[in-house]
Amino acid sequence: MEHIAARPAPAKPPAPILRILFGDAVSALITVGVIGLIVMMLPVLDWAVFDAVWQGDAEACRAGGACWAYIHDKARLILFGIYPPDQQWRPVVVIVLILAMVVASLSPRFWNAGLALLWGGAIAVMLVLMKGGVFGMVDVPTAKWGGLPVTLLLAVLSLGMGFPLAVLLALGRQSNLPVVKGISVCVIELVRGLPLIGLLFVAAILLPLLLPSDWTIDKLGRTVAALTIFAAAYLAEVLRGGLQGLGKGQAEAAQGLGISYWKMVWHIILPQAIQKVIPPLTNTAIVMVKNTSLVMIVGVFDMLGAGRAAAGDPAWPAPFTETYLFVAAVYFAICFGISVYARWLERGVKRKSYA
C-alpha cells in the first residue's frame, strides 16, 4: 500500500465585499446599523476638528467646538506639573532616558543581569536628575514633581521593584515549608483582595502612624511602596502560572545534578517560567501603567492630576473634556505600544520554540 498525501483543500475564492456586507438580510441590517452609528457620531468630529479652536487665547474658545488652543497653551503644565519651568530640561531628560532604556531592552537577546544593573543605574540617575541638590542642580522637592515623568517613574519603579518581590512570593507559594507558603499566600491574597485605592489610602494616611515618628518618607515614596506591593502580588500570580506549567521534572533533574536551590531558580526555573507567561506579564504591565493614574486621589500630581489642576484655571472656559482626551491619548500611546510589543515578542518566542 502506498500512502497518498492528503491534498490541501482548494482555496476558497474571496467573496466580493458587497456579498460579505449585504449577503443576507441579517448582515445587511448589521451593515446599515453600523454605518448609521458612524453617521450619528459625525457631530463629534465637527466638535473635535472642524469647529475646534486650534490657536488663540481663552476668548477664541468661547465659540464652542474643542479648545485645542488651551492644550497648546498648557501642555507644559500637563506634562511637567508645577516643576520649576526653568528646570524643566531635567524631566525632559528623564523621559528621554526612560524611552532609551525601553528601546534598549526591547530585544530578548539583551535580557541579562547586566541590563538589570543598567536599569538600576538609569533609575538612580533619573531620581537624582528629578530631585537635584547635587552637581549644581537646584533642589526640587518631590511635592513639586508632576506630570508625565511622575507617571512613567511610578510605573517603572513599581514594576521594577515589584518583580523581584513577585519572584520571591511566587516561589514561596510553591514552597514545601508551610510557614513560607502561608506567609506568601497571605500577602498575595490580602493585596489582591483589596482595591488599589484602599492600599493607597493606607500608604498615604496610615503608614506615617505605623512607622517611627522620626522617619519621614514623603508621600511620593509611600505611594511607590503601595504600587510596588500591589504590582508584586499580581505579578506573583502570573509567575505562579508559569511555575506550575513547568512540571516537576526540571527541578528534580536540577536536584539530581546537585545544583543548589538558588542557582536552579536563576538558571533553570525562572528563564523557562517567565518565557511561558510573557503575554500575561505584559498585560500586568499595561494594568500597572493604567493604575498609576489612581495616585491622583491621594494627591500625587501624576499626568492626570496635573491635567486636572491645569484645567481648573478660571481664565479658560473649563476645558476638562479636552484635557482628559489629551491625557487619554498619552496613556493610549503607552499602553497600546506595550500591547503591540507584546504581540511581537510572543511571535518571536513561538518561532523559537518550534524551530
Binding site: T31, L177, L190, L194, F201, L206, S213, S293, L294, T321
Partner: protein
C-alpha cells in the same frame, strides 16, 4: 554542621527565623503606632460609631439623615457600593455579550467595530474615562431650562439625566408575573413573559411618568445625578470590553467539531448551542468572569474621583471629620477582603464541582 545540611532541619530553622522576623515586625509596628497615637493625641476606639455623623450623603439606596450614626453612614456607603456594583456587573455583562459576539462577527464592519472598541477601552485608565464622562455630564450638558431631549421624554442637563418612569409598584408586579409566566411556559418563554408583563401593565392602568421642568430642575420620572450617570456609563463601557474578550475567548475555546458533531446527530443549532456549546464555553468563561466581576466591585471605589458617595468616599469623609483613620480604613479593607475572599471560596467550590473528571 552536618545537622545544617539536613534539608528538614534547615527548613525548620528557616521557618522559625521567618516567624520570629514577622512577629518582630508586627510588634515594632504596634509599638510605633501606640507611640505615635499618644504623641499626637489621636483618639482611638470604636465608640465614635454611635455618634451622629453630621455630614450629608448626596444620594443613597438606603435612607440616610445627617443625624444618623457613623455606623449607619458606613452601612449606607456599603449599600451604595453594592448597588452600583450590581448595576455595573449587569450592564457590563449585557453590553459585553454584544461586544464579544460583535468581535466574532463575519461582518467586517461589525467585527472591526468590536475590536476597535475593545482596544480603545482596554488601553485607557478607568479613572480617566470616569473623569471624562463626568466633565461631559457637568460642563458640556446645558442647564435644565435648555435641556437636550435626544429621545422624547429623556432630558440631558447639567443637573443630571431625567428619564420617564413607570410607577414602581405596578412595574414590580408586572416583572414578577412576567417571570412566573416565563418559568411556567414550555415554549415561547421569552415572548410569553413579555406578553404577560405588558398585559399586566396595561390592565393595571399604569401610565408613563414623564419628567417635567419645574423651577430650576426636573420633577417626576427617574432622575440620575451627573455623578451616578458618569460613574455607571464609564464603568459599564470599560468593563464590557473585558467581559467581551472573556466571552469571545470562551466561545473560541470550544472546538468547531462540536458544532459539526451536533449537526451530524440531527440536533438543531439552538439545541447544539444550549446543550453542547454553552456548557463547555461556560466552563472556560466562568473563572475569568468571576475575577472580572470582583475587580469591578473593587473598581467602584474609583467613584471617589467623581464624587459618588460609595463606601470609599464615606470612609474618606469620616477620616476628614473624625481623624479616626485606623478604624475607618480597617472597615474599608475588611469589607473588601470579606467580599473578595468569600467570592474566591465560592469559586474554588464551583471549580471543583465543574472540573472535568479525568478517569
Amino acid at each position: 554542621m552536618r545537622l545544617l545540611r539536613d534539608a528538614r532541619v534547615r527548613g525548620g530553622l528557616i521557618q522559625i527565623a521567618l516567624l520570629a522576623a514577622v512577629a518582630c515586625v508586627i510588634l515594632w509596628i504596634a509599638n510605633n503606632t501606640a507611640q505615635n497615637l499618644s504623641e499626637r493625641g489621636i483618639r482611638t476606639g470604636w465608640d465614635f460609631l454611635d455618634r451622629p455623623a453630621r455630614f450629608p450623603i448626596s444620594e443613597s439606596v438606603l435612607p440616610y439623615d445627617p443625624q444618623d450614626s457613623f455606623l449607619w453612614a458606613y452601612v449606607v456607603g456599603l449599600g451604595n457600593t453594592l448597588w452600583i456594583s450590581a448595576l455595573a456587573i449587569f450592564g457590563a455583562t449585557v453590553l459585553g455579550l454584544g461586544v464579544g459576539l460583535a468581535g466574532r462577527s463575519s461582518n467586517p464592519l461589525l467585527g472591526g467595530l468590536g475590536a476597535g472598541y475593545v482596544t480603545v477601552m482596554r488601553n485607557l485608565p478607568l479613572i480617566v474615562q470616569l473623569l471624562f464622562w463626568y466633565a461631559l455630564a457637568t460642563a458640556a450638558f446645558p442647564a435644565p431650562r435648555a435641556a437636550w431631549e435626544p429621545i422624547p421624554g429623556v432630558f440631558l442637563t447639567q443637573r443630571g439625566i431625567f428619564l420617564p418612569a413607570l410607577p414602581a409598584a405596578q412595574l414590580a408586579l408586572a416583572v414578577a408575573l412576567g417571570l412566573v409566566a416565563a418559568m411556567l411556559l414550555r415554549r415561547w418563554r421569552a415572548v410569553g413573559g413579555v406578553a404577560v408583563f405588558a398585559a399586566t401593565l396595561i390592565l393595571t392602568g399604569a401610565t408613563v411618568e414623564v419628567p417635567e421642568l419645574r423651577g430650576f430642575t426636573f420633577r417626576g420620572g427617574i432622575g440620575l445625578s451627573p455623578e451616578f450617570a458618569a460613574l455607571m456609563l464609564g464603568i459599564i463601557l470599560y468593563t464590557a470590553a473585558f467581559v467581551g474578550e472573556i466571552i469571545r475567548g470562551g466561545i473560541d475555546a470550544v472546538a468547531k467539531g462540536q458544532w459539526e458533531a451536533g449537526r451530524a446527530l440531527g440536533l438543531t443549532d439552538r439545541t447544539t448551542l444550549r446543550r453542547i456549546i454553552l456548557p463547555q464555553a461556560l466552563r472556560v468563561i466562568i473563572p475569568p468572569m468571576t475575577s472580572q466581576y470582583l475587580s469591578t466591585v473593587k473598581n467602584t471605589t474609583l467613584a471617589l474621583a467623581v464624587g459618588y458617595p460609595e463606601l470609599g468616599l464615606v470612609v474618606n469623609t469620616v477620616i476628614n471629620q473624625t481623624g479616626q483613620a485606623i478604624e475607618s480604613l480597617l472597615i474599608l479593607l475588611g469589607v473588601f477582603l470579606t467580599i473578595s475572599l468569600s467570592v474566591s471560596l465560592l469559586m474554588n467550590w464551583y471549580n471543583a464541582r465543574m472540573a472535568i473528571v479525568v478517569r
